[in-house]
């Protein structure tokens, strides 16, 4: 077995037992990246040219990568956009600072859809990332680089961000585990904002136990992020003696008539059977507002928040700029028109449109009220069940370039993930088997702050459904 094949917890144990050194682990991961990266293209910036200095802590010597919307002090951070140019942030994102403090070693910054807007990892100024399980297919997005890097064995774990499914959908497309934590569980300080009331940082790994390890490091209150909650201590300790006996796992009534790709429908049936055999009760909950209005509500809010968050990119303080503008308006227009890609421009214009005084009440304010109904609907549902089981995506990973024509059709595919962000819930994307060489992933959702219980259930599912293999470019 090569060292790059080790899961996070095994790599930690191996280093502790001195079976190999951190330099050897680093070299193995680097060789793996050198071999596959020309085809997968997960990186925007590599930082693995020299072996790291010795580190200490829970993650001492463990290689990782970060989605390129997480600020890294003195290291280029692009959000996959031309507009950030060669920007080097003057500070670290808190989540990265905590990993660094725990001894993790950064191998680089990885690809994403520009400003996290997309579900293919193809809307990047640096070109698309390919799915390590089948190079002709998308890895999902927006955290496609983070998912692909873990799937391909570049690193045992990574961080991404999830505004409407951007951890859970690529995790399912690439065959890894991904957690979108409860909103407020992980500090957003240093995460380049897209939709601030929806954004959340979370981990990818090849086992559930490894997600628990990473969450034990990155979760917790941060004075620099007022949306990270105080007085919330969570225990992410891994336990084998966990059970779902007597738990109620719900299927959503309104989703039952929606079309799923056959492997996903089969995985749903298989997972349901596993849970029943383990003693869980399968029940049904009704989410009619979610089913009909969540997609419209989400995009109305995400675009409105995005248009204000992206106002700051004007060429004055950082990133791409022009030096010969006659006036400030010309400067802003030239910088923004060149710097933003087409999807980002469309969303900025839509957000501007929805928040104009003449339309604000009809669209933006209405969306904030629909969001209340959606959150209330989930609260009611979790009075009748402990978890909700559903797909992470209705589709298997599609071919690169497919589905690029109709943006709104692509948005509808996010129905299974984005309501979770609207209500601030945690969602676990878990591996449920293979269909040919493609992995199939599903999603388990819980009430706010149920992240540890969600991961405990993930441990049981992994035991029965198996762990994913490292992907080899479809070979």
């Amino acid at each position: 077995m090569e060292l790059y094949e080790l899961n996070l917890s095994d790599a930690i144990q191996g280093l502790k037992d001195k079976k190999f050194s951190a330099s050897e682990l680093f070299a193995s991961c680097k060789a793996r990246i050198d071999k596959l990266e020309p085809e997968i293209h997960a990186f925007i910036t590599r930082t693995d040219s020299t072996p790291p200095a010795e580190t200490s802590g829970l993650l001492a010597g463990i290689p990782t990568v970060l989605k390129d919307n997480l600020c890294t002090k003195g290291l280029r951070t692009t959000a996959a956009s031309k507009i950030l140019g060669e920007w080097r942030p003057p500070y670290d994102a808190t989540a990265w600072a905590k990993l660094k403090e725990a001894g993790a070693v950064l191998m680089g910054k990885v690809n994403m859809d520009e400003f996290a807007m997309g579900n293919t990892c193809g809307n990047s100024a640096f070109g698309p990332t390919r799915n390590p399980n089948d190079l002709s297919r998308v890895p999902g997005g927006s955290s496609g680089g983070s998912a692909a890097a873990v799937s391909a064995g570049y690193v045992p774990f990574s961080l991404g961000s999830d505004t409407g499914g951007s951890i859970r959908q690529p995790a399912s497309f690439c065959g890894v585990y991904g957690l979108k934590p409860t909103y407020g569980m992980v500090s957003r300080y240093g995460l380049i904002s897209y939709g601030s009331s929806l954004d959340q940082i979370g981990p990818f790994a090849r086992t559930v136990k490894d997600l628990q390890l990473v969450m034990s490091v990155i979760s917790g209150h941060d004075p620099m992020d007022s949306s990270s909650f105080r007085d919330k201590d969570h225990d992410f300790t891994h336990r084998e003696d966990v059970s779902v006996k007597g738990k109620r796992v719900a299927l959503v009534k309104e989703f039952q008539s929606f079309t799923l790709d056959a492997p996903i429908a089969e995985a749903m049936a298989k997972t349901r059977k596993v849970l029943e055999e383990e003693g869980a009760e399968i029940v049904e909950v009704s989410l009619p507002v979610v089913a009909r209005y969540a997609v419209a509500c989400y995009y109305a809010l995400a675009m409105s928040e995005a248009h204000t968050n992206l106002e700051r990119y004007d060429g004055v303080r950082l990133g791409y700029t022009v030096k010969d503008a006659a006036g400030i308006k010309e400067m802003f227009e030239r910088v923004r028109s060149y710097g933003f890609g087409p999807e980002v421009k469309s969303r900025i214009i839509a957000g501007t449109c929805l928040t104009e005084p003449t339309r604000c009440e009809e669209y933006y304010v209405a969306a904030t009220k629909v969001r209340t109904l959606i959150a209330q609907e989930f609260t009611r549902a979790f009075g009748e069940c402990d978890f909700i089981l559903q797909p992470a995506s209705p589709s298997m990973p599609w071919k690169i370039g497919e589905n690029d024509e109709d943006e709104l059709k692509g948005y509808e595919a996010d129905l299974y993930t984005l309501p979770v962000n609207l209500a601030g819930l945690p969602g676990l994307s878990f591996f449920a088997g293979y269909a040919g060489n493609l992995p199939v992933g599903l999603q388990l959702i819980g009430p706010r702050w149920s992240d540890p219980a969600l991961l405990d259930t993930g441990v049981i599912l992994e035991r029965h459904l198996g762990s994913p293999k490292i992907a080899n470019g479809g070979k």
């Binding site: 209005y293 419209a296 700029t321 087409p342």
Partner: protein, 97 residues
């Protein structure tokens, strides 16, 4: 109500975006399709519904109001191409004179 390409162009200019003809055609189609999707909201009675907020926010006070100097202002200024001393410099704001 459908937006014309002129209206969409005006909104783009408010956002400080200059669109090519092709981009404008795409943005007009995109926004009109999107507004059609949002018309679903009209099916709901939202009169007595409060806008969303995270309920726990009540127990989440702001951080202590202490001034903490940022240690490395030089690193911030270093990232701009428009610096004069310790200030950012911008082109003239009043135009047409």
């Amino acid at each position: 109500m459908k937006l014309t390409s002129e209206q969409v162009n005006d909104i783009a200019l408010e956002s400080r975006l200059l669109l090519t003809e092709q981009e404008l055609a795409g943005a007009t189609r995109y926004i009109n399709n999107f507004l059609d999707m949002l018309d679903r909201f009209k099916e709901l009675d939202l009169k007595d519904v409060e806008p969303f907020s995270f309920a726990e926010a009540i127990a989440c006070p702001l951080r202590d109001d202490k001034v903490i100097a940022f240690a490395d202002t030089e690193a911030i200024l270093h990232e701009s191409a428009h610096v004069d001393g310790s200030y950012f410099k911008v082109p003239r704001i009043m135009e047409g004179e």
